[in-house]
């Protein structure tokens, strides 16, 4: 498979076309906005956090296929997880995307998100894939300023 096919796999194209949990959430008690100032990508992540558990999570915004699919996959993966699990997953995903030397072991810990591992061969696109993750981090931390990938 070429690098490009690796990047734009069927699952990613599908999540881009029909993103899961793509909606605003009125009952959210955590919310953050994220910007990628390089390309103007913009995402808002909504979280309903109850007793340290992510009861519900959704997002909306505009961006490229990679950022949209990554956000969609993220919400599917995080729903029902604890806050602590979410942080751990963030670290593993980040390692996988940036091609960290421990990336292989990281890929083992990310489950379905391993589909995004092709991104590490496209350094310019790493921020597209990590935007939603930075944003959910900010939402969980209750940050009052927009997250950025910088």
């Amino acid at each position: 498979m070429s690098d490009l096919d690796d990047l734009y796999q069927e699952v990613i194209l599908d999540h881009n076309k029909s993103p899961r949990n793509f909606r605003a959430m009125a009952e959210a008690n955590r919310k953050a906005e994220g910007y990628n100032p390089l390309c103007g990508d913009h995402v808002t992540v909504y979280v309903r956090l109850e007793d340290g558990l992510i009861k519900d999570i959704s997002f909306e915004g505009s961006g490229c296929a990679i950022s949209k699919a990554s956000a969609s996959l993220m919400t599917a993966e995080l729903k029902g997880k604890s806050e602590a699990d979410a942080h751990q997953l963030f670290d593993s995903v980040h390692m996988m995307l940036t091609g960290d030397t421990n990336a292989e072991s990281a890929a083992g810990k990310v489950g379905k998100l391993a589909i995004l591992s092709g991104v590490c061969k496209f350094p310019a696109r790493v921020k597209c894939a990590s935007l939603a993750w930075h944003t959910v981090n900010a939402a969980l931390a209750g940050a009052d300023r927009p997250a950025t990938t910088e």
Partner: protein, 418 residues
């Protein structure tokens, strides 16, 4: 060879693009195994060998500081530095070399005017007019000075083709207008702005005008006296010269009354702890050791551009733009953003359901370098209701065949995204 044939309609000898391409070493390389198709000239242009060699020769044979040494190398460097200033004066037909201030680039040139002129001569309640298609570098410096002095920024709207609405400009001009700053050629849309008319209308009210020429100098022959502008800002790296060097042209009588932008060496004539006397123009605005190699390299870029027949260059670039516009028009999912009647070689477009970043990544795999994003012109993107565009921006060394490669690569994008 086809390129040597005369154009049957105009009688103009065709531009010899193959010969020109040989002057640019970078163009012969392969990217991901495919010949490089460089369509990101709006971001920065490639450099001819003569410019690269000139910069190298400066460091190898002449490197020394200017305007201070009595030794031979310093004299040589000073002479070449000032010779470049003379070339730049000629390049834009300024009246005097005093009016050519070397800066880092267009951004610094605009900041210089905003801070030096703006903070001295703009007051609370005054209005500064910009257009809706400015690059961030011709918006933010004015917002900063507005915040500093209490002035107000007014924006000339653009129509759906990406042209300035001149009637609205006329309406915005009033007794509070104290400065006008507009682009000569839009970096995001390619629109060539009728700046001469804009300047004339402002001057009827005695209002000075700055033109952002960053995207104009690589495509048009600029004559600041004909345009009658008060300031003209441009960058070396977009006109086939080195990065980190640019020019602020300013009308001498305005530069004379403006305070220095930065303080330091070279911009003074006498310093005591009681008082400092500033140097004469243009040195008053060139504090510190300048980018000497950059200036000399920029002079070499001007020399290079002057070897070209600009009637041929213009005809060639028009052919590229027409060919690309026609080719993209045949793609149903493609929409061109920026359809002004008068355009330079910039083609911004969006694809249905495919984000510019994805387009950019796939084109890159085919060796085609384009810009994908908001082009530092977020208000333009907002005006057209798109988050980003893909931009192919041409230079005279591009070919019609390269546009066909772009078209083929776009087919691959559509295939990936079904």
């Amino acid at each position: 060879m086809k390129a040597q044939q005369a154009d049957s309609q105009t009688g103009l000898k065709e531009f010899n693009v193959a010969r020109v391409r040989d002057d640019f070493p970078i163009l012969s390389q392969k990217i991901h195994g495919k010949p490089l198709v460089y369509f990101d000239n709006g971001a920065t242009s490639q450099k001819p060998r003569s410019v690269i060699d000139r910069v190298a020769r400066y460091y190898a044979e002449e490197n020394s500081n200017i305007h201070r040494g009595v030794h031979a190398l310093s004299e040589r460097a000073t002479t070449d530095y000032e010779a470049a200033r003379a070339k730049l004066r000629g390049f834009i037909n300024a009246q005097s070399e005093k009016e050519i201030v070397f800066v880092r680039g267009t951004t610094e040139a605009i900041n210089l005017v905003a801070q030096s002129y703006g903070r001295s001569f703009l007051n609370a309640g005054d209005e500064i007019i910009v257009s809706a298609m400015e690059h961030h570098s011709n918006i933010v410096p004015w917002q900063m000075v507005c915040a500093q002095v209490g002035a107000r920024l007014r924006v000339i709207p653009i129509n759906h083709d990406g042209e300035i609405v001149m009637q609205e400009y006329g309406r915005l001009l009033n007794e509070r207008t104290k400065f006008v700053a507009v682009t000569h050629v839009s970096n995001a849309l390619g629109t060539i702005v009728p700046v001469k008319e804009i300047v004339a209308l402002a001057h009827e009210r005695g209002v000075p005008v700055l033109l952002d020429g960053a995207q104009a100098v690589p495509h048009l022959q600029v004559d600041v006296r004909d345009l009658d502008c008060d300031f003209y800002a441009f960058s070396g790296h977009k006109m086939f010269g080195p990065t980190g060097i640019g020019v602020l042209y300013g009308r001498a009588e305005l530069l004379e009354k403006m305070p220095p932008y930065q303080g330091g060496g070279d911009m003074i004539s006498l310093v005591t702890f009681e008082k400092t006397h500033y140097n004469v123009l243009p040195y008053k605005f060139e504090a510190g050791t300048p980018n000497i190699a950059g200036v000399i390299g920029l002079g070499a870029a001007v020399d290079y551009l002057q070897t070209l027949d600009w009637n041929q260059v213009t005809a060639h670039e028009r052919r590229l733009l027409t060919h690309a516009t026609d080719a993209l028009a045949e793609f149903d999912p493609v929409k061109i953003i920026g359809t002004a009647r008068d355009k330079a070689g910039v083609l911004s477009f969006v694809l249905d359901h495919v984000h510019a970043h994805d387009v950019g990544t796939i084109l890159d795999q085919e060796g085609v370098a384009v810009r994908a994003g908001h082009h530092c012109a977020m208000p333009v993107m907002q005006r057209f209701g798109v988050p980003a565009t893909t931009r192919a921006s041409f230079a005279f060394y591009n070919t019609v065949e390269e546009i066909d490669v772009l078209v083929k690569a776009l087919r691959r994008v559509l295939k990936v995204f079904g």
